[in-house]
Each structure stands twice: as structure tokens, then as C-alpha cells.
């Protein structure tokens, strides 16, 4: 009897940890204030690192997404294209910032790096709640088309804030889930 209940509890714990099943659909987070909150945190990081130029420069280059938005061009894209652009950009940005975590940095910088990684993870959740298609790594090598290279940490965080303010926010603002009730 005891063994049975103990095994059952253990099984529950394991299943909960691995989460093999599909998670329940999240409630759509349409309120832009959520995204604005992440943007404000990204502003803080960018402002802190704008001042840190010499101490924060490193030798290696980062591959980061392009942040440019042409409103006419953006309006002409459909939701899947927009989603793909945003998701791939987030993915690349996440890789770039995560690579900083490994190297030795100051405490201030480390806190901003951690905050940015957490923000990206939260934004991913927001996009998931809006039923935005997940990132699909492109099979061809043409991914460099939408990427650029930066050589300093301050530039990296500038890209981070510009990406959030632009493409991510526009995508969340125009998510079809949020406009279903509106004709």
C-alpha cells in the first residue's frame, strides 16, 4: 500500500518535471502594457550599457537580427511572415545574449544579461499565448539576409531594445487573436 502510493507520487513528480503532455492553452495576453514592461526593462539595460563602452567591448562579433521596420512593408506582410521574422529574431538574440553569460562580466552587466534572458523567455510565452507560430529554423542558408553583426555589448543591447520596440510589439499589437471580436 505504502509502496503503491509512494510510486504514484514519484510518478507524478517525474511527469510534472518532464511535462510530456501538451500544456493547456494560455490565456491570450493582448494587453500591450505587458510588452511595454519588458521594453522598459530593456531600456534600463541599454541605458546602463550605453555608458559602458570601453570596459564592455569584447573581441568577438555577435550575430543579431535586423531591427528595421518599414510600416508599409510590414503592413503588407501576413501574420505568418511576421511571426517568422519575429521568432527567428528572438532566437538569434537569445543565442547572442546567452553567449555573454558564459564569459566573465561585472555584476551590473551580469544582472542586465540575466534580466534580458528572462525577458526574452517571457516574450516567448506571450507570443505562445497569442498562438503565434513557433520558430522554425530555416533549412536553407539564407538566414543571413535578415541578420547583422555587431561588435560591442552596447550595440547588442541597442539591437535588443529596438527589436522589442519594433517588430515584437507590432506583432503583438496586430495578433489576430486579440482582434477576433473586432470586425
Amino acid at each position: 500500500m505504502f509502496h503503491g502510493s509512494g510510486l504514484f507520487a514519484f510518478l507524478l513528480m517525474v511527469l510534472e518535471w518532464t511535462r510530456p503532455g501538451l500544456s493547456s492553452p494560455l490565456r491570450p495576453i493582448c494587453d500591450l502594457r505587458v510588452v511595454d514592461h519588458f521594453i522598459k526593462e530593456a531600456w534600463d539595460a541599454e541605458a546602463a550599457l550605453r555608458a559602458c563602452k570601453d570596459a564592455c567591448s569584447i573581441a568577438t562579433n555577435f550575430t543579431v537580427p535586423l531591427t528595421r521596420v518599414d510600416f508599409d512593408v510590414w503592413a503588407a506582410m501576413n501574420i505568418e511572415e511576421q511571426a517568422q521574422e519575429v521568432q527567428s529574431g528572438i532566437h538569434v538574440l537569445n543565442d547572442a545574449i546567452s553567449s555573454l553569460q558564459a564569459s566573465n562580466q561585472t555584476d551590473v552587466l551580469q544582472s542586465h544579461i540575466d534580466a534580458s534572458i528572462n525577458n526574452i523567455a517571457s516574450i516567448r510565452q506571450v507570443l505562445r499565448s497569442l498562438s503565434i507560430p513557433e520558430y522554425v529554423p530555416p533549412t536553407n542558408v539564407g538566414e543571413d539576409k535578415e541578420m547583422q553583426k555587431v561588435s560591442s555589448i552596447s550595440e547588442l543591447f541597442q539591437v535588443h531594445i529596438n527589436f522589442l520596440r519594433g517588430k515584437v510589439r507590432l506583432l503583438v499589437a496586430s495578433a489576430p487573436v486579440c482582434h477576433q471580436g473586432v470586425s
Partner: protein, 531 residues
């Protein structure tokens, strides 16, 4: 048909012109404002979706002389330069409007002339939004007092509806002092705390909230007037207030009238007069105390007893105690100076009275003592040279050589007074600060000599009896005039008021035989009842 077409074309053309001019007006005003406020060489702003950058130059230059380039993401592009003349400020600017402005990326803008770079700037386009003012501003009076409902529409801009903040400015018509309210996202506001029945002017302007987009404050809208509601005095409330006020007034009047006397007494207290205690003195005898005394002394005795049973005994200070055996060996009665002996007053009590009553028979003995003192004044006065500086009056029992009196105590008591008043030449005691020893006891009659008063240290009167021959008297600052003609005069004695003429016989009557009673130290002079 052709005429209709041409008419339509004209109309369209006019409308276009109007539209352009309106847009141009906005554009011009923005340019003019930035020309004033912005300090950069190249001033840029985004009007709707396009970035415009301009700079000021001399009048005689031509736009073709300039080259405007902008670069982003490793791409370089050109832009056509145009010129604009500002009529208001009589200035000429050259500007370039980027056709497809890239947002959320860094733009590097350069202006060159004749292949020589004049100005350059690096900026993000989304940080320089310069919006049009809000549209359709309406101000309506709400149903409540002192409130106005203000509402407006945001400027036409697709992606920024939810990231705008507004500033509402309102002021009374004709006044320049306005207040400002900031409101986020929402396009309506209720102004509170306004004066009723007043006309107000309201303006609104808009700006990006600074999170996703940043920019300049737009121009103020044209002012719109609104009138607040006039204040309504609810008649029921007015009536109730009046009614309650009336009731309160009546109540207070009733209270005041019923306690009129009491209140009057409290607010405007009567100045005490001694007439009550000296019946007939002022009315019948016109203040002639001597006459009054002589008329009343027989009846005073009985009456005064009752009087004194009611009152606290007046403070008297026993100056010294004269030993009954010999005047030279009188025990010193040490008394502290007047100022220190306040607590002696508490010793006054009616308990002394019974003592006094027991003592009358010893008055006779006292007279004897006084007589001896009279004969030998010198040593005693010397022995009693004071150490304090209080003035006091001693009452000498002046026998003038009279024999032992077997008379009433009353008479004996009155003797000093009588002698006092008979000697017209009696020096009045005018020592305000005691001149100790200067006035000495002499053989004169009816004299008042001043000696210092001493504290009686041990509260022990000589067991032989009340041997005090002197009465300590009040103190510094007192000017006492014992001339018989003086009417009652109030002498301010420190805190104590006294009537110099209030030489109430009854006091001495009861205090002469005092044993063990310590009256108040010399701060009081032979006082009558203190009112």
C-alpha cells in the same frame, strides 16, 4: 458635360490645395517650432510616417547646392532637398523628406555642399515623433457642480493609438494661470474642483509615451470654452440650517439670560470694596474712621466675632517675642524675610481663634510688657536689629503713662489706634525699604517704629504666653501713611493689596493673645480682611 468635369476638377484641385495648405500649415508650424526649440544643426521629426530633416541657411543659397544622404544597415541612400520660406519668421530652411523611412534602426544623416560635409547626425526615427494636435476637442458641463467633461480624438496615426499621453490645460476665461492634467491613453477627462458658474478655456496636446515611441509635444489645440454649472443652494438645506441656527441662538440667549448675573460677575468682576465690613463708615461718617470707631466700638465687639468666625484670620507677623520676665532676654523670633515665608499663610486658620479666645486675660500682662518696653526701648530695638530688609510697623502699646488698665480688651486694643490718631505729628511711616534701625523705638507715643521681621523658627511661642509686643508688618515697597486724615488708600504690596487704613481692630484683638500662631510673614501689614 465638359463644363461639369472641369468644375469637378477645379473643386478637387481646390480641395487638394486646401488639404496641402492645411498640412503645410501644420508642417510649417512644426518647422517653426523646432527651429525655435531644437539646438541641433539638422533638425528632424516624423510627421505621420515619414522623417523630415531640415536646416537653416542663408537666403541666397539654392537647394541644388546641397546633398542629403542617409544610411542604415550598411545602405546609403539619397534624398532630394527642397526649400521652404517661413513667412512668420522670414527665414528659409532646406529640408528633405525621406520617402520610406526605416524605423527602429539607427540612421546616419549627412548634409554636404559642394562635396564638403556640412552637418551630420545619427538618430532613430521612432524617437522623433512630432504628432498633430488632438482633434475634435469638446468641453461639456457635467451634471455636477464644479466639473467639466473634456473629450477629444487622438491624431490620426495607425500604430500609436495606445502609446500616447495627453496634457490638458485649463484656465478661467481671462486668466493666465492655468492648471495642467496629464492623462495616459484615455481620450476623455473630467475636470474637478472648478468654480461654479464660471467660463473655462481648455487646451489639449499629445506626445508619445516614451516606451515604444518617443517624440516632441504637439502644438496645443485651439481653446474651447466650457461653462460650469451654477451652484445650487438646496432650499431644504438652507431652511434646515436657518432653523438650527435659530434654535441655537434661542438656546444661547436663554442660557445667557438665566445666568446673566453669574456671567457678568465672571467677566466683569466687581472691584471689592470694604464697605461691607465697615457698615456706615463711608455713608454716615464719610470715611472718618475715628468717628466711626468711636461710635461703633461697643457694638463692634459682638459683631466682629461673627465676622471673624467667617473669615480667615489676617496674616500677621509676630515680630519678636518679648519674654515676660525681662524685656532684654526676649527670645528672638526669627523670621525669614517676607518673600520666603509664603507658607506661613497657610498657618492662618481659625484654629487660632480658640487660642485667642482663651488668651484675653493675658492681655493685661501684655500691656505691662509693652509698658516696660516703652520705658526701655533702646536695648530691645538694638537686640532686634534685623537681618532682613523688610519694613514693618510695630505697634506700640502706648500707655502714655496711663495706669494699668483694667478695661476691656477692646479698649486696650483701641488705645494704640487712638494714640495713633491723636498725635498729629506722628511721622508717617514711609519707609519703603526698611531702614533698619533708623527708626527706633522712642518714648514717643503712638509711634510706629519699623523693625525687621524675623521668622519665628520653631513655631514655639513662649510658653509663658503671647509676649509679642510687635507686629511685623509688610514689606518693601509699601508706603504707609498713618496720618489720621488719610483715607483708605490701597497700597500695592507686591502681590498683596492692602488698605493702609484698614487697621482693623478686631484683628489685633484676636491676635494679640496669639500663641503659636504664625501668621504670614511680613508681607501683610496690619490688614483688615483682605478682599
Amino acid at each position: 458635360m465638359a463644363k461639369m468635369r472641369s468644375d469637378r476638377l477645379k473643386i478637387v484641385f481646390v480641395l487638394c490645395l486646401a488639404f496641402v495648405s492645411i498640412g503645410g500649415q501644420h508642417f510649417e508650424s512644426k518647422v517653426a517650432q523646432l527651429l525655435r526649440d531644437e539646438s541641433e544643426d539638422i533638425k528632424c521629426f516624423v510627421e505621420v510616417k515619414d522623417l523630415t530633416c531640415f536646416w537653416e541657411e542663408e537666403r541666397n543659397s539654392l537647394p541644388d547646392q546641397y546633398t542629403f544622404t542617409y544610411s542604415y544597415e550598411n545602405k546609403i541612400k539619397d534624398c532630394v532637398v527642397s526649400s521652404l520660406s517661413l513667412l512668420a519668421s522670414n527665414k528659409t530652411v532646406f529640408f528633405c523628406k525621406l520617402p520610406k523611412t526605416p524605423f527602429f534602426t539607427t540612421l546616419d544623416v549627412k548634409v554636404s555642399r559642394d562635396r564638403r560635409m556640412l552637418y551630420s547626425r545619427s538618430l532613430n526615427a521612432e524617437n522623433f515623433m512630432f504628432l498633430d494636435p488632438p482633434r475634435n476637442l469638446t468641453v461639456l458641463s457635467s451634471g455636477k457642480e464644479g466639473q467639466l467633461n473634456v473629450s477629444w480624438l487622438p491624431p490620426l496615426l495607425k500604430y500609436m493609438d495606445d502609446s500616447m499621453i495627453y496634457e490638458v490645460r485649463y484656465a478661467e476665461e481671462g486668466s493666465n494661470m492655468g492648471k495642467v492634467e496629464v492623462i495616459k491613453v484615455s481620450t476623455m477627462l473630467v475636470l474637478l474642483g472648478l468654480q461654479s458658474d464660471t467660463r473655462y478655456k481648455v487646451w489639449v496636446r499629445v506626445k508619445p509615451d516614451g516606451v515604444a515611441y518617443k517624440g516632441y509635444w504637439s502644438a496645443w489645440t485651439e481653446p474651447v470654452l466650457g461653462v460650469t454649472q451654477p451652484s445650487e443652494l438646496d432650499p431644504l438645506i438652507m431652511l434646515l440650517v436657518l432653523f438650527i441656527g435659530l434654535i441655537l441662538c434661542l438656546l444661547s440667549m436663554t442660557v445667557i439670560l438665566s445666568h446673566q448675573k453669574f456671567l457678568l460677575k465672571k467677566l466683569w468682576p466687581d472691584i471689592p470694596t470694604p464697605e461691607r465690613k465697615f457698615p456706615g463708615l463711608f455713608t454716615v461718617y464719610k470715611g472718618d474712621f475715628k468717628e466711626w470707631m468711636s461710635q461703633n466700638n461697643s457694638s463692634m465687639w459682638g459683631r466682629s466675632v461673627h465676622v471673624f468666625t467667617e473669615e480667615l484670620p489676617s496674616p500677621l507677623e509676630v515680630l519678636s517675642e518679648v519674654s515676660l520676665s525681662s524685656h532684654g532676654t526676649s527670645q528672638r523670633e526669627e523670621r525669614k524675610p517676607v518673600e520666603e515665608d509664603e507658607e506661613k499663610e497657610s498657618e492662618r486658620s481659625d484654629s487660632g481663634l480658640p487660642d485667642r479666645w482663651r488668651e484675653p486675660p493675658q492681655a493685661h500682662w501684655l500691656m505691662e510688657q509693652l509698658r516696660t518696653l516703652q520705658e526701655n526701648p533702646q536695648p530691645l530695638s538694638q537686640s532686634l536689629l534685623p537681618q532682613s530688609h523688610d519694613t514693618y510697623v510695630t505697634l506700640n502699646q502706648n500707655s502714655q503713662g496711663d495706669g494699668v488698665r483694667e478695661v476691656d480688651d477692646v479698649f486696650e486694643e483701641t488705645l494704640p489706634l487712638q494714640t495713633l490718631f491723636t498725635t498729629a505729628g506722628t511721622p508717617s511711616l514711609n519707609t519703603s525699604h526698611s531702614d533698619l534701625g533708623s527708626l527706633q523705638q522712642s518714648s514717643g507715643s503712638g509711634r510706629l517704629s519699623s523693625q525687621s521681621s524675623f521668622e519665628y523658627p520653631n513655631h514655639t511661642w513662649p510658653p509663658k504666653g503671647p509676649g509679642y509686643a510687635y507686629m511685623a508688618v509688610a514689606d518693601s515697597g509699601v508706603s504707609m501713611d498713618y496720618s489720621p486724615m488719610s483715607s483708605s488708600r490701597i497700597v500695592e504690596l507686591g502681590r498683596h493689596r492692602m488698605y493702609t487704613n484698614d487697621y482693623k481692630n478686631e484683628i489685633f484683638l484676636h491676635k494679640w493673645p496669639l500663641s503659636g500662631e504664625h501668621t504670614k510673614s511680613g508681607s501683610d501689614f496690619c490688614m483688615g480682611p483682605i478682599w
